[in-house]
Each structure stands twice: as C-alpha cells, then as structure tokens.
C-alpha cells in the first residue's frame, strides 16, 4: 500500500515537471522584428490634467508609433515608485511626473535627465520662449538647468459669488492690474468676508469663506499663500544667491497666521479637517462667499463631483479675480502669489529616452494642451485650464470656455513658487512642522506666538541637522525668474 502512495506522488511530480517544461518550450520565441515597437511607461497621478491627456494618448500612439502605458496612481505611490526605481537604477519608468518641490531632490540625486540640450536641439518644436518663465522657474528649473517641462501649472486666485456681491452691493475685485486694484487689500478681503458671513440670500445662509486645515500639506498650501501675499518669506535669502537659510518665516508669518485664524472664524468650523478638494466641493455646494485657492478649482467647482459629469450649484454664479495684496503694494514690489503644479521628467536610467522626450514634448505642446482644455469625456467637460504657455492664454476658443484666463495670465507675473514654498530637499520636513503648529493654532490649542516659537525651534533643529545652518554646505545658484526668462530666450535662439 505504501508503494502505491509513493508511485502516485512520483507520477504527480513528473506530470508537473513535464507540464512546466512544455509550457516553457512552447512559449513563443521572442520575435526579432526589424522595427521593434517601443513601449514607454509614464508614471503620473490623477490630477485634472491626467484625464484629458489620458483620452488623447491614442492620438500620440498613432502619430509616433510608440505605445504608452499611462498610469495614474495616488500621490504617495508616485513618489514611492519613482524613488524606488531611481534607487535601484531601474529603467522601468521612462517618464515620471514631478511635483513642484521634488525637482530639487531628484535633480540633486541625479535622478532626472537635464533637458536644456534637448530643448535647444528641438527648439522649433518646443518653442521654449512660449513657456511662462515664472512657471518654469517654479516647476522645472533648479541650479540653472531645466530638468522637466511643466504640464499643469497652478496659481492661486479668488473665486467669488458675483450674485452675492451684487446682492450686498460689494465692489467686484479686480480682474486685471490695469484696472483699479489698489483697494483690493487683505484688509478689504477680510472686510468682505465678514460682510458676507451670516447673510441669508435666496434661502441660503452664507459663510464668508472656507479655509483648509488638514495637515500637513493642505493647510500649508493655504497659509503660504497668505504668507507670500503679505510679502513674507521662509529664509533670509533664497533662491537668490548667496543662500542664507536663517529663518525669517515668523516676520510676516505671524500676520499671515493671524489673518488665517480670523478668516477661519468666518468659515465652516469643520474646515479644520478639510483637504484641498473639500474646500472646492464646499464652494460648489453654494454656501461660501469667497474662496482664495489653487486655480484648478476655477473649473473644478463647475462639477459637483471630481471628474464626474454634472452641474454644481454655483455654475454661472461665480467669477474669478486677482489675489489681494498688502496695503501700498504695487506690481513689481514683491511676489504675492504661490505657484505649484506638475511637470514631466525623464528617468536617466530609461532605455527609451528619445521616445520619452517625444512624449514630454507632445504633452506640453500648444496643440495637445489646447485639445485638453476643450475635451469632453466620461469625466465631464472643460476641466483643464492649467496652461503653461503664453499662446494658450490668447487662444479665442479657450478664452470662451475659461473666461478667467486673462486674470490667470496676469497673475503669473506676481507669482513666485520658490518663495512661497522653497524647493529644497528638506521642504517636506519643514512642511510637516508648519502643518502641525498651524493646525494646532487653528484648533485654538496654542497662540500665534507659541506656534511660531515652536516653528522656529523645530525649523532650526531640522536645518542644523541637515547641514543648512549655520552655513549651507552645498553649492548655490542665483535662482531668479529673470535668469529663467533669459535662459528660455537663449534656448529659443539656439
């Protein structure tokens, strides 16, 4: 009886081995075709640009004969997979989408291919001087080189209920610096928020504004807009050379935080836990008077749900205006707007760098971006106006669908992404510190002064432990918008 069992087991093992061998032998040999079709992998995330771009991928594949695996994953997954791939020197990802503050990290670590030569070589196609310098400065340039091409740029603008303003007799905020804009100060902004708050119009009781309190990132994005809007900065001197990371964030930071806390009083109390999108969704609900927030929300609030077709409660009832500024400020004084967004970079370990470059050129080109702006899909319609090129702001078809484009265009001039959120590798740690204290202050657990005491202490510890203080240990670069504008022009000339 025991022999039978042994025989049975042996038979099974033999069959398994035979099966595996057959499968291996019969697998089709790898075809050696003369023209191998290249597949490139793009690792992106599902910010608004992703949806129309995803719909247009077949056009790219058709035109260039390159297959594209266009992934849209979650924020931390983009970072995790990109960093893992880079650490392992893997060619698995060809194009990676880069958030504004990752560029410095990746560039310093040698994880992005510098694009200057490629831009110069293909300048006819790329048209580098068509890119808005402030955007390139904020999203793509580090230590004088261009590492990525921006694909979606975010500023911060004021979205307001024009019907409510009319009802209450409030003056519409300026849409252009050519208008009378001196009156649109932070004090005025706060005054308007207070005026709207609590009023009932057409059966809806309004909150003045809606804040964003989730930490670490959302609250810091909101608050740094107030910081830069008041002329504040994080460090003594950055990004202009010589870099000096003495912490100066408290100087205007306290005022920014005081304003933030005031505004929170006139905002739904639950906004202390709001993520980015919560504020937009709330505005779209229809009980918020004013929202100063990232520009994608200018179009996102038209649909009640993210990337699902529908009409929100505020369609046709809101307008977009410039951000407020400190008393006595004039254009050219100091930047007052935060800049963020996404750009596309090439993995230096990729085996298909040329094809990856083709993709990046295509995705950031005038034609593609215009199509993205006008596209309708199963995700809705007209859900992309984060344009990075001058030419797109002048296109009549786009202007018709996104009437705030002229305002957005003018706002870039007064924006600076590296001052509102310094693109240093230590950014995330500092953001985490800020987020905690700001959130605590918002919850009323600490005072403004206590918050900044803590912030300063922890900032200094972190900066010291990471060799930024007392003297920055690495090479510096005089990083100005003028330099970037110049650089782009030079590349355009060849």
């Amino acid at each position: 009886m025991q022999k039978k069992a042994i025989v049975a087991i042996i038979a099974v093992v033999v069959i398994i081995i035979a099966g595996v061998a057959a499968w291996l032998l019969m697998a089709p040999p790898t075809p050696i075709t003369p023209t191998e079709k290249v597949t490139i992998r793009v690792l992106a995330l599902q910010d608004p640009f992703w949806f129309p771009l995803n719909d247009l991928i077949p056009e790219f594949e058709e035109k260039y004969g390159i297959d594209v695996v266009f992934e849209g994953v979650s924020y931390y997954e983009v970072r995790l997979r990109a960093v893992s791939a880079f650490l392992a020197k893997s060619p698995d990802i060809d194009v990676v989408v880069v958030d504004q503050m990752w560029v410095a990290e990746y560039a310093d670590a040698g994880w992005l291919l510098p694009l200057d030569d490629l831009i110069k070589r293909d300048r006819e196609e790329v048209k580098p001087d068509d890119f808005i310098p402030e955007i390139v400065h904020a999203l793509s340039e580090w230590r004088g080189k261009i590492w990525t091409l921006p694909v979606a740029a975010y500023g911060q603008l004021v979205m307001y209920r024009k019907d409510v303003f009319d009802e209450l007799g409030l003056r519409h905020p300026p849409k252009s610096f050519k208008e009378d804009y001196e009156w649109w100060t932070w004090d005025k902004y706060l005054e308007y928020v207070k005026t709207i708050h609590g009023k009932t119009i057409n059966g809806v009781t309004f909150y003045g504004t809606v804040e964003v309190g989730q930490q670490p990132a959302p609250i810091v994005h909101k608050w740094t807009q107030y910081l830069i809007g008041m002329g504040g900065k994080w460090f003594e001197r950055f990004p202009e050379a010589p870099w000096n990371f003495e912490v100066k964030i408290h100087e205007k930071g306290k005022d920014a935080l005081k304003l933030f806390l005031e505004l929170y009083k006139y905002s739904p109390p639950e906004s202390i836990e709001y993520f980015w999108f919560d504020a937009g969704v709330r505005f779209g609900k229809g009980d918020i008077g004013i929202l100063l927030w990232w520009t994608p929300y200018c179009y996102l609030i038209k649909q009640p749900e993210y990337m699902v077709p529908g009409v929100s409660a505020v369609v046709g009832k809101y307008d977009v205006a410039l951000p407020p500024h400190p008393e006595g400020w004039k254009v050219g004084d100091h930047p007052i707007m935060s800049i963020g967004g996404w750009s596309l970079g090439i993995n230096p370990y990729s085996k298909h760098k040329e094809e990856a470059w083709k993709f990046i050129k295509w995705a950031t080109s005038f034609e593609t971006q215009k199509k993205m702006g006008l596209l309708k899909g199963d995700w809705g319609e007209y859900q992309f106006s984060d344009f990075v090129r001058y030419s797109l702001y002048k296109d009549p078809e786009l202007l018709e669908v996104y009437p705030w484009l002229p305002t957005q265009l003018e706002a870039w001039k007064v924006g600076n992404g590296k001052i509102s959120r310094p693109m240093i590798p230590l950014y995330f740690t500092l953001e985490g510190i800020l987020g905690r204290y700001l959130n605590d202050a918002m919850a009323g657990r600490i005072t403004v002064d206590e918050a900044f005491e803590g912030i300063l202490k922890e900032f200094n510890t972190a900066l010291k432990q990471n060799f930024y203080l007392p003297e920055y240990a690495g090479p510096m670069f005089d990083d100005t918008i003028e330099y970037v504008a110049d650089h782009l022009k030079k590349l355009a000339k060849g």
């Binding site: 069992a5 608004p48 695996v69 995790l80 969704v281 609900k285």
Partner: protein, 273 residues
C-alpha cells in the same frame, strides 16, 4: 418564563449588533448606487433614485475595475496556497514535537508579525528588481508570505493542537507510516481548520495595500490600490470608491458564505469531541 425573556433579549441584542455592524456596509452599497448629487445631502439621503451607471463604469465601460478584480483574486489565492503549503508542515511540527529551538522559532515567527510593514518596502524592491520581478505577480506572492506564513503557522498549530494526538498514534501503532497517518487521519479531521486558516490568510492578502503599491505595476494592481486612487489630493470620486469598496467586500464575503459550513464546523470542532 425567565428563560424565554432572556432568549428574547439575546435575539434583540444579536440583531442590534448585526445591524450596527452591517450598517456602514449597507451605506456604502447605497453610496455606490446614488447619483452624485445625493452623496452629500443634508440630511443624508436614504431615499434616492438609484442608478447603475457607476457599476456600468466600473465593470463595462470602461470596465475600470475588471482587471483589478482579477488581479486581487490571483494575488490572494496563489499567495494563500503558498502560505498554507509553507506553514502547514511547520505548524504540524510545532504542534506535535518538542524540540530544542521550538520556543525560539515560534517566538520569532510571531515577532515577524509585529514588524511594521513599511520596513520591508524598499529592500523588497531591491530584491525583486534584481530578480527581475518588479510589477509581476510573483513579487507580490512572495512578499505576502512575510505576514501570511506566521499567521498560518499560528492558526494551523492551534487547529492541530485540537486534534487529539491519540488519533495518529493509534494509526501508527497499527502500522501506518507518519505520512499516511497525516493524510488519511489528520487531514480530514483538521480540514475545517485548514479552510479557516486559508480564508483568513486570503482576506489579509486581499486587503493588503502596501506591498502591491511598492512592488507592483499597472498590470498587477489589485482592488485595494485602485479603489484608494479615487481618494486624491485634488478631488475625490466617492461613487467609484463605493463601487470599488463593494467589490472588495463582496468577494471574500461570497467565499465566506460558501464556506460557512466549515466556519461553523471548524468552530464546532471542539464540541464534536
């Protein structure tokens, strides 16, 4: 009679418990059927015109979740089979033998369960990269073992412990070899234990998020990842999260309902003694 009242209370209590625990699940199912305008009403809407369009989007056009459902099933089932194959012999050894390193090994197996999963992500990436397995099923099957095997060993050992030693000792006294005793005597009696262990391991693999995130690629993405992707920084599509959640809940639930006899029988194992 006091007993009848007690019984009544018992039924009410259990009924309430089941209702409370089922409620979020029912609510999510409702969310998956709601038109988006009803997602955030004040007060929350229990009555609404249901729509299948979210399921249409999920399963048909563009059939977004189809591949992910398939992936989840493949990832979890094969990993479970691997885990059982690896842990059963060890569990048997721990149950039936006393040997020198026994306590140390058992403690070590258990300790692995304690390790924060994050510590494994980057090193495993390197390992899988050098094996050329990034973005493939085997990478995740292997990674899943790090928590499945300890769990399997502990659960199976407990189930083996409940099978009286006398059974196989008697068989061996009758002239059976140990292996035969194992196959013919232990397995049938311990089958419910195996099934329950397999079910639990399956569910833990099914619910896992971090390993597929770190080691996977688009071709092997499971449901947990793809559902969570709708919870973005810049916007959330709740209805699609709801349909994804329903799929995540349904398939293990179906398996549990199919095997519920074993669930109860496994639980009844001791009483049948």
């Amino acid at each position: 009679m006091k007993a009848k009242l007690l019984n009544y209370l018992r039924y009410i209590f259990v009924g309430l418990i089941v209702a409370m625990f089922m409620f979020p699940i029912v609510w999510v199912i409702m969310l998956s059927l709601k038109p988006p305008e009803y997602n955030f009403t004040i007060p929350p809407s229990f009555i609404f015109p249901p729509t299948l369009r979210h399921y249409w989007w999920s399963l048909v056009d563009p059939g977004y979740y189809n591949k992910h459902i398939y992936n989840s099933i493949i990832l979890s089932s094969v990993a479970t089979v691997m885990a059982i194959a690896l842990s059963a012999p060890a569990a048997y050894a721990f149950s039936r033998f006393g040997f020198k390193l026994k306590n140390f090994l058992m403690g070590w197996y258990l300790g692995l369960y304690l390790a924060p999963p994050i510590v494994f992500l980057t090193p495993y990436y390197f390992i899988m990269k050098s094996l050329g397995l990034i973005g493939t099923y085997p990478a995740i099957w292997i990674a899943f073992q790090i928590f499945s095997v300890p769990l399997g060993v502990w659960l199976l050992k407990n189930f083996f412990d409940e099978v009286p030693r006398e059974l196989e000792e008697a068989a061996m006294l009758d002239g059976c070899g140990r292996l035969r005793a194992l196959i013919h005597i232990i397995l049938p009696v311990g089958a419910p234990g195996f099934i329950i262990t397999a079910l639990f391991i399956f569910v833990f693999c099914w619910n896992n998020l971090l390993f597929p995130m770190a080691l996977g690629g688009p071709e092997v993405k499971p449901l947990t990842l793809s559902t969570m992707e709708h919870f973005r920084m810049i916007g959330v599509t709740w209805n699609y999260i709801a349909t994804g959640s329903v799929f995540i809940m349904t398939i293990p639930a179906i398996i549990f309902i199919i095997f519920r006899r074993y669930l109860v029988r496994g639980l009844m194992l001791g009483a049948a003694r």
